[in-house]
Symmetry: D3
Subunit: 270 residues, 6 copies
């Protein structure tokens, strides 16, 4: 297994930081010391660490931990894009989630990061023509993390999926870079015909908890979708929409996904 695209330990600042953080924690909680060592400290790269951690969560009698670990490692190191994406995801979570003050938290404990990383592997397998294995992983991801992402969907990097339970992303959906999605977000299809039928979400978009975006609609860059909204139509860039059905309620600045500001002007209680 060639690992051409693994970032070196010395030159990977996120991995160096994760190791540093873990060294701090390991002394204080002996019950988790071997776990932290096995998942983090004994590895040279983030990819090895993440593979092992996911393989232990997703392993089952059907497909055991060791073989799954090898498949995950192969996928995570298969090209530059994947490695960059998971690092961008970690950066995104650290920056945007105030409850996250360490890179190691999402790596170790955040279902959203685990689920998106699993999707990245399933997507790789799908692209390689291993659809049965990809669908198997999609099912495991849905059972273990409560997140259902079709392996054919295309998702960019710098993605924050916070809390994650209930997230659904359909087969022909496309998600840009630096998007933040909360739990129970749906990028769903409409109609029973095959073909392009899921949303196209631009970059920098913030999608609030429970929002449903349905059909082959386009969400422009840096748009903001209010929590609980139902979106059945295109949303222009830098536009804030909210409500059931979603209506335009304002414009938004640079990258709402980075601000994580879920307030909607006009939503104040009178």
């Amino acid at each position: 297994m060639s690992k051409l695209f693994q970032v070196n330990r010395e030159t990977d600042p996120i991995w160096r930081e994760i190791r540093h953080e873990t060294e701090q924690q390991i002394l204080g909680e002996p019950l988790l010391a071997s776990f932290l060592h096995a998942v983090v400290l004994r590895h040279d790269t983030l990819e090895e660490s993440l593979s092992l951690h996911l393989a232990q969560k997703l392993g089952a009698p059907v497909l055991g931990e060791i073989v799954l670990n090898e498949i995950l490692q192969e996928a995570l190191t298969s090209n530059r894009t994947v490695g960059a994406a998971i690092r961008d995801d970690l950066e995104a979570i650290r920056e945007r989630d105030p409850a996250c003050d360490r890179y190691s938290l999402p790596l170790l404990y955040f279902k959203g990061f685990h689920a998106i990383s699993t999707y990245r592997v399933a997507h790789y397998l799908w692209e390689q023509g291993r659809s049965e294995l990809a669908l198997y992983l999609q099912n495991r991801c849905s059972e273990v993390f409560g997140v259902d992402i079709h392996p054919a969907a295309r998702i960019g990097s710098g993605i924050l999926v916070d809390h994650a339970t209930g997230l659904v992303i359909g087969e022909t959906a496309v998600v840009g870079d630096n998007v933040s999605m909360l739990h129970e977000v749906t990028l769903g299809g409409t109609g029973k015909d095959t073909g392009d039928r899921h949303p196209k979400v631009g970059s920098g978009v913030l999608i609030g908890a429970g929002a449903k975006i349905l059909g082959n609609v386009t969400i422009g860059d840096c748009a903001k979708i209010g929590a609980g909204s139902v979106v059945l139509a295109d949303v222009p860039s830098h536009c804030t929409v909210a409500g059931v059905p979603a209506r335009r309620v304002g414009t938004c600045g640079d990258q709402p996904s980075r601000d994580m500001d879920h307030r909607i002007s006009g939503y104040e209680f009178d």
Copy 2:
């Protein structure tokens, strides 16, 4: 254990097709070959296959796989209705879900089909007076699939539950035939008194993702409930409702559950 109501392998076209599909897949993915053989190819009937698959997912130290398998098989072959219902469910999913181009996909990988089938077993046990076991299975179904259906609920056949996470169906709910429900749909009760307090959903109804229908209200045949809607009142047949609270927004044709058209007229973004 008499299995009077099992469909014969030769005369069951769905089962024949599932076996055919699996024979195609098994060659391409050796890591899953034994899984596909054990779940599908070594069985004579769909009921045996489904029992084994669910037993392996729901088995736990409290109630091991072998005994659970026997209980599942007994329930699935107990009468004509159950066997017909799971076949209708498979047909419904294959027909209505564009991401599903094989009968074997829901059998193997779709949580919604797994959860509804588990409910069908729990309902059988409830009817037999084995309420403790039925409640145990409800809990396992909620833990493993994220779907909480009370075993006393009455649900017809030809049901599509897509993505499934978060589905809740209460004790006195009734659901007709050929209904499509997306994830996070709630058919919930209202009030704290026992008695009939959950929705009655007709046939051919489509309920969009995240819709909450609460109380002993009637949803007429072939109605359509928009995603994210909150329904606290009766909905006439062939009526489309949407919004929080749900308002009538149009009428709908034959069986919206079959079209899976989640668009709502008037929900386009201006």
Copy 3:
């Protein structure tokens, strides 16, 4: 491990009742007899019973059942508040959930009670400075029960979390006593800055399924938040709000959390 704060078997009417209920059930279902004995009948206190049951659900190779059981027992018996809270929770569920006619049902089978009890343990660990272990438990709770409660949140007693899947409660949220929350409720933050950014929910509040309350807003005592509502602003006491965004739709009486009346005046379908 001193267990100063465990209620004695003779003087704990709920525990006595749970034992009595279980003795009735155990004869009818031999497949669950040892389970019911091990979880309920062989224990002197509710705390021992609940610890064992949760430890068997949350145990994993990282942290095995026996050690986890000891941690759970220590937390549940650490002070009077915790023991009182879980009893109030059981009372609340029994009183308010018509599908629950026995105290033993939530103890044995309700994910909501299991998740809130797990939170109570994680919160204790967080307060003791064992944050790594608390975050580990939060993750297990999210994986097993689909419920994500930050261990730093502060939650009162007499809490009913019905169905539970998808519940999210953030780091600086505060929840009063006698609150009822349905599944998919979010008490979420807004913005990316640390600090106080989650809702403060008073006592006696009822929050309907799928409602999202976001930001450092105050929900007054005995308010009622309609299902599927999105609340981004303060809600006065005894006020009923509903909609996306939530608007005031009425007032409500004593403690809506106790009535579990999800009907909203004005939400009838015309």
Copy 4:
């Protein structure tokens, strides 16, 4: 799976007795009640009971419990011989082992009976040409019970293998009916050439603990091999041999395997 050769519950006195014994025990030990119910009381036949029990012991991720149970059941009911043999084995143990006062003890707890029964299944598979599966079972039997019997060996009925650990029986060995073998007995080969190279043991033979019988030698009917003996030559019928190497030390009567008398005349300490 036709089960032509299963003995009916009403007409199988051993099975009726086992059920009766178990009903007596189940009341006294609630921690084992569900185990006793699942292994014994819920079955109509001894074959079903034994299959389930062995499948739970020998199941592994490679070959799960449910499929293994089906294979075991098929083998145990494949012909009259197997069913008769396991009943004769149970009779033999009950009659000859003073520590065994119930038929249910070997069924539930005796490794020797479990190992011989596993061999009977592996032998059936070997005869059916499923050698890979037979060798897999041989390995599992050796790992779980410490008993290594080649599936091609031919072993009669009414066999007592007491304590069992370390028993080795080679590929071309033959064992008659009503033989008693203690733990650490070896019926081993000699030489490196394939072909008939293991002992042929007659009926009614008693082989003491740790005895090694090596090569294609014949042990006549009703012979007695002293504990710890090494036998490299034929032993006539009704002959007692002992020592390293084994020498004739006496004659023995009817069936030494039934008397279990391990005393050797001349072995008294002076």
Copy 5:
């Protein structure tokens, strides 16, 4: 559960030493750090530590780890004798086994100590009239450790069972204090009648690997039984016997069990 008979941490020199040894090891092997912490360092008493360790080895779906741990703890602290015996066993191993330079080695890694301790628990249960549970534990001990000791046997303290695999001790056997037994030793019965039929082994006896002692014979104090011997008759005190059948080959001094000298005068190769 009253724990009257647990030795206090401060006043138990062996436990203090084990904790000290473990503190030394834990730094050097992070992969085992949590194991060492969970098994040793987080406990106040040897009994708690040993219970947890054995429960994790012997736990199974039939009887889970937590409940088994409680049963083990109850038995190990039930009276002064048991606690004293396991400490004497540890002393014996440390003193007599040159490969053992730490008390923590047998506690953590020696099957012989694990098996004898399991017997001590099964014997307690047998004495309490819980024979079904005792027989279940005997079976687990035989499967996991390859050691088959009937729970009714009576065994003293200061016992070294080195390597352990294959050890068999029958129902009416009695073993004194300060006995050393190697692997594959049998204290077996003879005849098929119930009643007193197993060896009575005095104190200070050394029994070499593979020795078989059969029948209700008496092995006097401080006797020495050569490896591979077969003993069918009484052996006087301070007497060395060896051979098949065993013959007197010398006398032996103080306590051969303490010297572990397996040499036999006259056994030198000419």
Copy 6:
């Protein structure tokens, strides 16, 4: 992890043969197809295959499969000696065991090969100063395979351990090349003092089932130790010894370990 010493797939005839054998078997037994693929066919080297297989057998919550697999791989590829030794072992088994007509049988199913390979890893760890991990592996090997080899022992290559249960090899034992040992062989110590106290076994030696060799004695090259013998003194080269105690009974030719001839002249029954 540098893998300098792995033999290349193209240039490793044993590995090529194992792959070829497995390809033949995989078609006939679909239930084992994924197992055979995962253990054999998806690997480039024997070392990878063996690591995975042993890790799945020896993995436990204390030390999970993935990390154990890495440790095993590191040890098996650490130097030329280990890789050569396991290949010589496979050759030895194939050549000398008539029941073994394929290299893949010992790799997949023979406890003796699994145990010796585990020892080779434990010995490597011991040499690296990781004694705690080495002792942990020794214990796992004893529990799972019933084979107890001290990691400090020194064992050559071309070793056949047939059937394996009960094998014991002590701390200061040395075993040469091309040795065949049957089950229940002991290379044990004598005395309670540390230091050199175990046998030194030359090359080409055959040790029959159940033989006990005790103390710091020398077994010369190409000696043959009869089954069940007890050896307490040096044995010259090319010498056959047998009995309790072992006496010289003849001479033996080239390499008795290769002939596997367990017959002893003079041991015929008169």
